[in-house]
Amino acid sequence: MGRLFSIIRQFKNLLLFVFLQIMCLVMLYNYNKTYHTIGSAMANQVSGAINNKFNGFNDYLYLKQTNEQLAKRLEQLSNNQPSVLDGPLSAVRTFADTSIVDTLGNKKITVRFRELLAKVTYNSLFADNKKNFIQIHRGTLDGIKKDMALVSETGAIAGRIVEVSNHYATAISLLNIDFKVSAKHGKSQVKGLIEWDGKSPDFVQLNNVPAGYQINRGDSIYTSSFSDIFPENRLIGTVDTAIKNKSSNFYTIKVRPSTNFYTFSYAYAIDNRDRDEQRKNLSDAQGLAKPPAKNK
């Protein structure tokens, strides 16, 4: 026993080194899978507070662009409101799920999607591991939950929230190789999958679109109704190039995101209130569809 202790004492630095290395690797590979490790909420809180301090300076530089974007958003929202002059027509017209008031000005009781304005405290574009993150100054105390959608000032999608602490929340950005969202082409309504290949922060890829459809430069790409995180018909971006891949008979489409990640300073977090029900329903159905276990 004494020998064992003397060996441990002799190699204590090597053992400590190996132990800390294993700890690093465990953290690294667990985080990649679940985006959540021990103490990550605390780390989020600390980095959030510091990022927030330094963000003040950055915001000052982009005041003009932010102002323009907010004005645009205001215009969109005010166009969505029922006008007094519209008369009975407004009663027939269908409105987006996102409006909180109904045609009479009363608050709707069941709003499926609820938006919360948040300030962006951190946004990376050039992460070495191709995993960019957005941090916002809103947390559990403000009603932010995991798996809420994040859209930019103009309403175009920007990310998905993966980590929440009391006052801050972190989202994986559209520019993250782990981010995937179901999308559709505006004109033909053909569905595809938006992914980022990690090459340039100016473009994302739209995959799984069959070559039979007509897709042109400048066409809009929206979120589809398949997602239980993102509301339908939110702008993702516009088509930059669409090349038919002859071997696989699918398109290779480059999409320019409508979110300007370079001057991104305010975001809306969107909560889907039916999400749990949606997921439960789907998983129940999948459980039913499975063949029953064989009894022998």
Partner: protein, 176 residues
């Protein structure tokens, strides 16, 4: 200013430069991402115990990880630097026992060329480890090789500039 306070301040300064300047300027020529923060581990005194050095390396790397959301990646690379530093310093000091005469590794205490070789080895080590882990998860073999070389060149350039801008004054310590 006492020595520990100086070390803490330089650690914070280098982290600040790494997180809010070098990580924000974008990729040089589309793919080069410079790193300078790990130079702090070489600035620590000669007579620091190896156990302390390992802990400092681990937590220093982890503090960068908190900002870049890469739990454990840079801590892993920093641990290697912290572990190999005493061996490398023993290889590169001018004469045996010289580490007793100066406070910490620098151009003055080790000689410009020897110090540069030490820094180069640590830079290559850091970039190889980080890029190798990223290569395992992302792929791209030639990008992996090319990024080690290009990142090292740019990082070394920045480190030399920092060393020239902030000369760390040291006196020759004697027993008398």
């Amino acid at each position: 200013m006492s020595k520990p306070v100086k070390h803490i301040l330089s650690a914070l300064m280098l982290l600040f430069i790494q997180v809010f300047v070098l990580n924000k300027i974008g990729l040089l020529h589309g793919f080069i991402h410079p790193y300078v923060y790990f130079i702090f581990l070489l600035w620590l005194p000669f007579n620091i115990s190896r156990t302390t050095l390992l802990f400092i390396g681990f937590f220093y790397g982890l503090s960068l990880d908190i900002f870049t959301k890469t739990q454990g990646l840079y801590a892993f690379a920093c641990l290697w630097i912290a572990y190999l530093r005493p061996f490398l310093i023993n290889l590169f000091i001018r004469q045996i026992g010289q580490d007793q005469n100066y406070y910490s590794p620098s151009i003055k205490s080790m000689g410009a060329l020897r110090y540069l070789v030490l820094v180069t080895i640590c830079t290559v080590l850091h970039h190889s480890i980080v890029q190798f882990i990223l290569f395992l998860s992302i792929g791209g073999f030639f990008k992996f090789l090319f990024s080690i070389i290009s990142y090292t060149v740019i990082s070394l350039l920045l480190i030399v500039v920092i060393e020239l801008l902030i000369p760390r004054k040291q006196n020759y310590k004697t027993n008398t």
